[in-house]
Symmetry: C2
């Protein structure tokens, strides 16, 4: 859904912005429609409730606020949140204390991408009190870094591939003849020499150039084919995994008291096509992306918002981290937190490959 343009002409004056801001921030904490009276009481606006009412009516005219019913207070529209995020507030950086705590946590975890992205989701969940999301950094194209063959039984071996960006892949290979570990190691060494650093297509070409009659090359060729297939599978695979934590936080929000809405969100998160599209979109944008309600391409996500950021090494391996929460969400804080966590992960990864 493309977001609709505000009907009102020109930008808002400062007072209107202040009031929109107050409505949104009040609504985000209370989850209840905000009335003119409550605003003048709780925010130093310097005008009476009648004036506030006039401005609220204007903002509603402009499509930034709405009414659940005639005699209720105002709630922000998705356009209202969008305007708020883009024009009124900056992202709020994560407080230094929390930054330190998070750094500490990442430091304690073992050096491994797999741990990092999970920890990122967990951290985001606990800090923002929404759901934390994270995908592993998937290499854009699989380059073989090293392979190993481990004998499992007489005619069965485990083929382990290490890719350039540290990803592991394990497949089983059935063997025509009884083969012991020494033979397997020899084959692995040979293939390591031949295929180091290659992509699927490159590896395929190298294998095709091997002497087709040399019987000593039969097993290397056979394993090599599996390697190529595994690399191809890796290239072809969409995002493997979306790790989420703290969905409990979202469940606790009053707008999800009846589980039907939530069910649809869960369903969308299981939709791999949608996820792949979403993630690649965020990855190419290269910065924090905010999707508010119906701005999400999946209609099941119309009741929630996403704040996502890519991380990793552009062009080599990228993943996405972020949060999912109700549209009524503390966007500035969420954006600040997501920005910090993705930046931290970039830092760690850069440090790793420096």
């Amino acid at each position: 859904m493309a977001r609709r343009v505000r009907r009102s002409s020109g930008p808002l004056d400062l007072r209107s912005q202040a009031i929109l801001r107050a409505v949104i921030e009040e609504y985000v904490t209370t989850a209840a429609p905000v009335g003119s009276h409550a605003l003048v009481e709780r925010y130093r606006l310097g005008v009476s409730s009648a004036t506030v009412r006039a401005i609220l009516a204007e903002l509603e005219e402009g499509g930034l606020l709405t009414h659940p019913h005639t005699s209720a207070g105002r709630i922000p529209t998705e356009q209202g949140y969008r305007y708020y995020v883009e024009a009124i507030v900056d992202s709020v950086p994560l407080p230094p204390v929390e930054q330190l705590m998070i750094r500490h946590q990442f430091g304690q975890v073992e050096y491994a991408n797999e741990h990092w992205f999970r920890l990122a989701a967990t951290t985001l969940a606990s800090v923002t009190r929404a759901a934390g999301l994270a995908t592993p950094a998937k290499p854009t194209s699989a380059h073989l870094r090293r392979l190993d063959l481990v004998s499992i039984s007489d005619r069965l071996a485990s083929l382990i591939l290490v890719l350039r960006e540290g990803a592991l892949k394990q497949v089983l290979v059935t063997l025509d003849h009884v083969t012991d570990q020494a033979d397997l190691t020899a084959v692995a060494n040979r293939l390591n020499d031949l295929l180091d650093g290659l992509t699927a297509t490159e590896a395929e070409r190298v294998l095709a150039a091997l002497d087709p009659v040399d019987p000593s090359l039969e097993l290397p060729r056979r394993v090599g084919e599996r390697v190529v297939r595994a690399l191809q599978a890796f290239d072809g695979a969409a995002i493997e995994e979306l790790f989420s934590d703290g969905l409990l936080n979202v469940m606790a929000a009053p707008e999800f008291a009846q589980s039907e809405k939530l069910r649809r969100v869960f369903a969308a998160l299981e939709n791999r096509v949608y996820l792949a599209q979403l993630i690649s979109g965020v990855a190419v944008s290269g910065r924090v992306c905010v999707f508010i309600g119906h701005e999400n391409t999946a209609e099941e996500m119309a009741d929630v918002s996403l704040v996502l950021a890519p991380y990793g090494r552009p062009g080599r391996a990228v993943g996405v981290v972020g949060v999912l929460g109700p549209t009524r969400m503390a966007y500035p804080q969420a954006i600040g937190t997501v920005r910090f966590v993705s930046g931290l992960m970039n830092e760690l990864i850069d440090h790793l490959y420096a």
Copy 2:
């Protein structure tokens, strides 16, 4: 919670059993309290509703049924389900057509434990229309099968451990001196010779026996220490992962329309202590286990039931598969399906290591 004993003396006569069965099976499909009239209408009981009412009252007296309120029909108690599962019905084997379909699916997936257990959860979810659960088969004690060292940068290497049961473990090792891949491979070969098949404590002993002054052994010793630590971590770790699929199915059940109950279930599933205890209990039992409502040790799980079965090689590596659903659940079918899937996984694993 220990389950309470029925108050009535002796086993039920066949007619009472038939009626209890009818109530449960009706309630499982409709989710609404079952009245005497509905029973005589839909089940060939051969008696009038008045007689059924008398028996229903007896069953209630015995603690197998209950009333939501005076003028409502009967619903089964947890004791009722328990009696039903233990004394009235046998598990219903999965229809051969579905068995074949599942076998086919497992055949299509790449030979790898990691894929199997996830597929098991997905399969269980779709067949039983409840949530499917599965944990990977965790080795009881970590035996090193093989290790590999892959250079990442001048002073950083990735250490990959393959354990006896096929599990992989990857840790990063920082190096004091610039070391190239050839050196790393040499170290890996050396350690493979020394440590093949050993547990953490055994490996530690072997390393301690190495010549402490030989400078060529410095790096092997250093890496070896990391190996030992990784093996220890593996032994000490509780279950790593509970994969679930189809939680959507459970969310769709009317008893979970308000999300609070569900939230508690999710919370319990994130409780690693509880999971570890649950899983080890099922593993030692060696057969399909049914936990109905409050029979679950976690009180958050009081509204749901679990049907779980272990799989794997007892004493070497075991995991658990099963389903989670509302207490109002088609137990015979669930038990049959879980039994089939765990059996199938055993078959596959046996075939692998035969």
